[in-house]
């Protein structure tokens, strides 16, 4: 159950049920951060990877409040396929909170690891003409509001003239594209820990509840952190905190993307398949044990549509439980 929710005065369930007391939650999180970094982890400050997205912006703002801006470093980790807009927004963000930044271009690391080559090999098995000037992205087929759909990924490529085509991704190609692309998050994790260890700082994670609980992160990549600060907050609640913390407007208005694939897929088309306000409200209602009819009524959805969203949440949580598991520690034999 979501502890951050404001005490409700409205009798019925709906989108408003996601409302949080942002001031109180920000205060609670800064206390948790200060205690976690200094007392539990015995670190002197915090490192945050900043992308110009809403989640890392909120985390950076909270770190600056909790620890003081001079004990926080924002690390920009672009590569050759990153949107240039991301760096501009990340700089604007850091300047707003008085936090120093470091930029580490990870293109060389990714080239060395064969990230682009391995990924493009798999893409070319489906689209042999894929090459310079082309873009590619992975999307989940089907909108959950329109049809019952299973989680089957499609590869969508765009040629240099802007003509788009797509094919269902067979498992070997899907696995290779994902495994190769995950070098990006794992390279970023390595550099975040470099900058953290350099200063005796902790690495603060930026995954929200949607990402953490549904498995939209890379194990030992962006999931490799010392503190997950906002993993209990729905995406829509992160936006509420962003407004309270005065995160730059442009960042609040930006459509969330994966920032992983050169075709620039949005998080909705890549993974979630329904708008965040609907997903979050259905999920909250489901966690509160409300019947699908009541949840759907609040959102003008049919019980079938609501049930499909709930089934997808349950399915993703089950399928990605491996990502959230710590290593299995095999114990010594008795005696």
């Amino acid at each position: 159950m979501n502890e951050a929710l404001a005490p409700g005065t409205q009798a019925t369930f709906g989108r408003h049920s996601l409302a949080i007391d942002a001031a109180r939650e920000a205060e609670r999180l800064t206390d948790e951060l200060s205690r976690g970094v200094h007392q539990t982890l015995r670190r002197q400050g915090a490192v945050v990877g900043i992308s110009g997205g809403i989640d890392s912006s909120v985390v950076l703002a909270l770190c600056a409040r909790a620890l003081g801006p001079d004990r926080v470093v924002g690390v920009l980790l672009p590569e050759r396929e990153s949107s240039p807009e991301s760096a501009d927004l990340a700089h604007e963000l850091a300047a707003r909170y008085g936090v120093a930044t470091v930029t580490e271009d990870i293109t060389g690391i990714l080239d060395g690891a064969g990230c682009y080559r391995r990924r493009d090999e798999a893409i070319r098995r489906l689209f042999p003409e894929f090459g310079a000037g082309w873009k590619a992205k992975i999307v989940l087929a089907g909108n959950l509001l329109e049809q019952a759909a299973l989680n089957v990924f499609r590869l969508v490529v765009t040629d240099p003239q802007g003509c788009e085509s797509g094919k269902r991704l067979p498992l070997p190609e899907f696995n290779q594209i994902v495994a190769a692309s995950n070098f990006k998050q794992r390279a970023r994790m390595s550099l975040l820990y470099y900058h953290a260890e350099l200063r005796n700082y902790a690495v603060i994670g930026t995954a929200n509840k949607n990402e953490h609980a549904l498995g939209f992160f890379v194990k030992y990549g962006d999931g490799g952190v010392d503190i997950q600060l906002i993993a209990h907050l729905y995406k829509t609640q992160v936006y509420q905190l962003a407004r309270y913390l005065d995160v730059p407007e442009e960042i609040q208005r930006r459509t969330p993307t994966t920032d992983t694939y050169p075709g620039g897929s949005t998080q909705e088309e890549f993974f979630y398949r329904v708008p965040f306000d609907i997903l979050d409200t259905v999920w909250l209602g489901h966690e509160r044990g409300l019947p699908a009819e009541e949840i759907g009524h609040a959102l003008d959805l049919t019980p079938e549509q609501t049930q499909r969203i709930i089934a997808d949440i349950n399915s993703k949580q089950r399928a990605t439980s491996y990502l959230r598991r710590s290593p299995i520690i095999v114990e010594a034999p008795n005696g």
Partner: protein, 84 residues
């Protein structure tokens, strides 16, 4: 071996890693019952294409065709009448 038995054996051996076969009823929902997860769906699609020599259309990959041994076997028979 009938279609259901082939599907049961494949899931038991490659997804459940069960030493004692497929322990569920043929009409048990794969997803609701946690028998397979969403990541295994693509694996099942590849399996039926290769094993039964059929081509699965994107629009066919829905729970009505892929959510239990019985539903999947019925789908295979519709696509490959020689197995009916």
């Amino acid at each position: 071996m009938n279609v259901e038995a082939i599907i049961r054996a494949y899931i038991a051996e490659n997804i459940l890693f069960s030493g004692n076969g497929y322990p569920y009823r043929d009409d048990a929902s794969f997803l609701d019952g946690g028998i397979i997860d969403s990541a295994n769906v693509m694996e099942l699609v590849m399996f039926v294409e290769e094993k039964f020599g059929l081509s699965v259309e994107d629009t066919d990959i829905v729970p009505d065709n892929f959510d239990s041994v019985r539903l999947l076997a019925a789908y295979v028979r519709r696509k490959q009448p020689i197995l009916a």
